[in-house]
Subunit: 322 residues, 2 copies
Amino acid sequence: MASIKDVAKEAGVAISTVSKVLNNYPNISIDTREKVERAVKKLKFVPNKMASALSSKYAGRIAIVIDQTAQETPIDEVDMRYLSGALAKAKELGLDVITIFYSMFKDWTHDDFCAYLRSESIGGLVMFGVSKDDNVLIKLAKNREYKCVLVDADIVNPSTSCVWIDQAQAQYDVISEVLKTDNVGSMLYISGKQNGFVTDYRTEAVKRLCEERGISLTVADGEFSEDRAREITLNEGRNYGMIACASDMMAIGTISALTQMDVFKPVCGFDGITLMKYVGNHVLTVKQDFYGISMAAVDELYALMHGSKGRDIKIPYEVVRL
Amino acid sequence: MASIKDVAKEAGVAISTVSKVLNNYPNISIDTREKVERAVKKLKFVPNKMASALSSKYAGRIAIVIDQTAQETPIDEVDMRYLSGALAKAKELGLDVITIFYSMFKDWTHDDFCAYLRSESIGGLVMFGVSKDDNVLIKLAKNREYKCVLVDADIVNPSTSCVWIDQAQAQYDVISEVLKTDNVGSMLYISGKQNGFVTDYRTEAVKRLCEERGISLTVADGEFSEDRAREITLNEGRNYGMIACASDMMAIGTISALTQMDVFKPVCGFDGITLMKYVGNHVLTVKQDFYGISMAAVDELYALMHGSKGRDIKIPYEVVRL
DNA sequence: TTGTAGGCGTTATCAT
DNA sequence: ATGATAACGCCTACAA
């Protein structure tokens, strides 16, 4: 109800003065600042976001873009952590957020997307789960028209940053940990989707590790799918000393296959999702702090929107047994 | 980039005329309408949401309020379904959405909350997971200042609706289904949180059912907690013919306890979450369509914001084995 | 240091 | 049926 005009009247100053106080402009006497702050408090004034977004070129509004379909899936946990972290950090930084799910723009062109962003006065976006086929999002990130932060996709330019864990090192580490106790001569690696940005890094790391250790390696495309991993394991699992999976969900598929086949082999996963605690049987995995990653991503977007240049940011991870 | 002014110029009409076309006002000649639509298409014009929210009292902006903490929990699935459904329906209806997590306003007063809603030009809200202690949210719903739709909380007044499944009937049905194959003489019911709106309805239904069937009933407060249910089951589970749980997570706790005790007893849950498929062992449960519930809630909010009166809406459910 | 005034992109009320 | 024009609440040169 109370507007900046009311505050001005109450404080006995001009509207612009109030605005300056609100936005921490320099050259405001301590006296007027206090008068204004008292008035703000008294009237419980909160600036209207629509009005400020409208009047200023700089919009503190960002979009969180998440790869969430309406399908049933047991790993909503990841997206939810991403979202929680992003909203929390955004609130901390005073950014306004709109949430966009992939399903909402699946038939939009690049222009449609840009028009939408403009209509919402969006100044930057954080994108989760972008794959190499997501043309619209990738074009957005490469265009440099908007500030972007990609999680798990290494597109970096002056206005685009990437936030993720060190994929290669993490994959290397978790398998190394398995090898500490299980000395195997052959390994089956069930990789993630070929169009994923992380897949190559992880796979290369596995190749390097196996070469170093003299382990014979076979790579199968598990598509990040539990069922696919189960199938692969049923077909070929028997022939290898251990099975490494590029995601926990695939590890779960693999474990269920092994159980069904009634054989035991070391298995490891990647992600550290909670579901593993229920069905993982103490499997080694890479624990990612999705919440923290998301906070870091929003932090970085904030920085980009304030002039810093795009870069590649690595977040810590942990190898754990779940 | 293109504004309504540009469209007006392109179409050779006044700004106000363009606005009328855009908002489907009456009394527009078919001829000018076409001219305007052509210009809109040509310039790829999309109206600025900030400006329209600012200029009109009616804001097609709603808030989705979700009880999501940053904690690790295996049932993010539910909140994610709620969110997906709400965003999808909102997009369909042309509503703008802001997402609010409980953690964001945990130390806000009612006034703070209202100020925030005003600052965001919010016209109505959908609230999920409200409990009887959530004073701020409840006051908001009872105040009638904003249009509200509560999911799983029966507060109904001219500007507030409730959307949920028939709690009593669902609880009654799922247990009846168990009783079809297992004829038990005694039952342990592990109920949900006492401050939950659904708890009493479910518990009363169980009491009624047991009375009808001549089954001796004991109710324990499981607080919707997996661990609490496990504990209760370990302590007292042995003494009953079956154990009914007011949520799937509690059913999972109960099952793990029974497994640990190496005893078998019929168990049933409530919700129908995906996790049950992994650890439920074919347990009977109530399958709620969270996505559909959420869509219905946003639909109802839209109706409220367009003049309809608050009411109690029941969504279908299913009894299934997971 | 503070105030005046124009503008941001719409909507809505009047005239015409 | 159409067009001026005043809000909406805030930001920001520019003046004072």
